[in-house]
């Protein structure tokens, strides 16, 4: 079960780094070009949301990005350290985009899981 984790400070300039790493991981596990584009955008939205939650609540801990490959599944888990009860900081577009881009989404507030299945 190959697994990698990236931790970034909760600042907006680091969101691009998270996108770049997620795209590299998605390419390595063999997702299609279209899926890789979706990973880029969905991870950008998810990490942006996490960073904004940290900034709104003045939480200095890192946001983490876990990338897990199991068989044909590629899962990205974005974890923040803000309580799930904290109101959303965006207008809902980010989550709507994520749900449109990712086949399997689990949103537990502080933990957002995004799962793709490698195309045959």
């Amino acid at each position: 079960m190959p697994q990698a984790t990236l931790s970034i400070p909760p600042s907006v300039e680091h969101v691009r780094l998270a996108r770049l790493v997620a795209v590299a991981a998605a390419r390595r596990v063999g997702l299609s070009d279209e899926q890789i584009d979706d990973v880029r955008l969905a991870v950008g939205e998810g990490v942006t949301r996490a960073v904004q939650r940290h900034l709104a609540e003045h939480v200095a801990q890192d946001v983490s990005l876990g990338m897990i490959e199991i068989d044909d599944e590629f899962t990205i888990v974005i974890t923040d350290h803000v309580g799930s009860a904290v109101p959303e900081t965006d207008d809902g577009i980010a989550l709507a985009l994520i749900r449109a881009l990712v086949p399997d989404v689990e949103d537990a507030g502080a933990v957002l899981s995004l799962r793709w299945v490698r195309s045959a």
């Binding site: 969101v15 996108r19 880029r40 955008l41 950008g44 942006t48 709507a96």
Partner: protein, 142 residues
Amino acid sequence: MHFSRSLCHSSDVELDVTTREESGCTVLSVVGEVDVFTAPTLDEALSAAIAGGSICVVVDLTGVDFLDSTGLSVLVKALKRVREADGSLDVVVSADRVAKVFRLTGLDKLIPLHATLNDALGSDSADPSQATYDEPTEDGES
């Protein structure tokens, strides 16, 4: 007028916005990636154009290979402001990965999209559903 934003320790400009007048409209040529870090630069450029009296605004995203919901929010905010002045805001998109963000959010029905700058400047009645988009030519961010 020229706006840009980059990481202070990097020579790579992440977003560059140049504003010029063309065919009676204010054209903002945007190059780079529009995200939560760089969107304020686009917001600043659009606000300056609108505050300067522009009521025909064209945002050329031909040079943009990534745009997220924060970029969309900036465009929607500008659209509201130009419409308050009975003006228009059109967007030029050539990369399908960028056009897809407008389609998924339904904003392609709110903001007129054009495949080329000439289309945006030449026709008020261009049908965005007829626009053709180039397939992405690169598969990663640089």
